[in-house]
Subunit: 137 residues, 2 copies
């Protein structure tokens, strides 16, 4: 299968500065963050509004892409699982999924209520949460 | 921001063979599909089970990456929106998100109940849906 090339569309600006102080899971809390959007992608923000629920896709650049099995949440007393059965940032393609609420939109950025990604994390995509996503649960 | 390189971890096998017969949104229904996992990634399947809810990340290779604004669902009577406010496959980094249920697991594949992606679509990642994802809705 052939290689795929991505260009980040933006970057996370956050008070989280290292993986050790980043929450491991969404339910462990995360600070508000700003997403700065690159110049050639800003037009794609049109229509996003404060209060919208969105999914932010990030590139978890600190992840170890060689890992195939991990102990969930780093707990070695729990059996190791394949990374596709976990949300570990250590995985072949460490794309992070973050469901958040938009708190502000400017011409070149989004602010969101809480994002478990460290400062400088590349952003790959932003999508609205669909009503059908909720209905499917 | 620097370029990111991905290697697909698998490929979608589906009866959907063209974008015109692929559902545009998850709520429009999709046929069952198989995901064939590449040899170097199969160990990462360990722990996934029939009945698990997962998120499949795909590369929507038919998407037009130059598009920044679209008419939602192709309806030209509706105002155009920035692609970050839509789930259009036309977007800078056309990563598809598909929340599905696992119906079978083998050593080298997953079967899922319904996937709105055409045959041959590269798969980038597989993640479990977390209880906290549901709780957040």
């Amino acid at each position: 299968m052939s290689t795929i090339t991505l260009e980040p569309v933006g970057v996370v600006r956050s008070l989280l500065t290292s993986r050790t102080n980043a929450p491991r899971q969404p339910d462990e809390g995360a600070p508000p963050a700003r997403i700065d959007i690159g110049a050639s992608y800003r037009e794609a923000l049109e229509g996003l509004q404060t209060g919208d629920r969105i999914v932010v896709l990030t590139w978890l650049h600190a992840g170890d892409r060689t890992v195939r099995r991990v102990h969930p949440r780093g707990d070695r007393t729990r059996p190791a699982l394949g990374v596709f059965a976990t949300r570990s940032p250590d995985r072949p393609n460490p794309v992070g999924l973050h469901e958040v609420t938009v708190t502000a939109v400017t011409a070149d950025s989004l602010e969101v209520d809480g994002l478990e990604a460290i400062d400088g994390t590349p952003v790959l995509d932003v999508k609205p949460v669909l009503a059908s996503d909720v209905g499917a649960r």
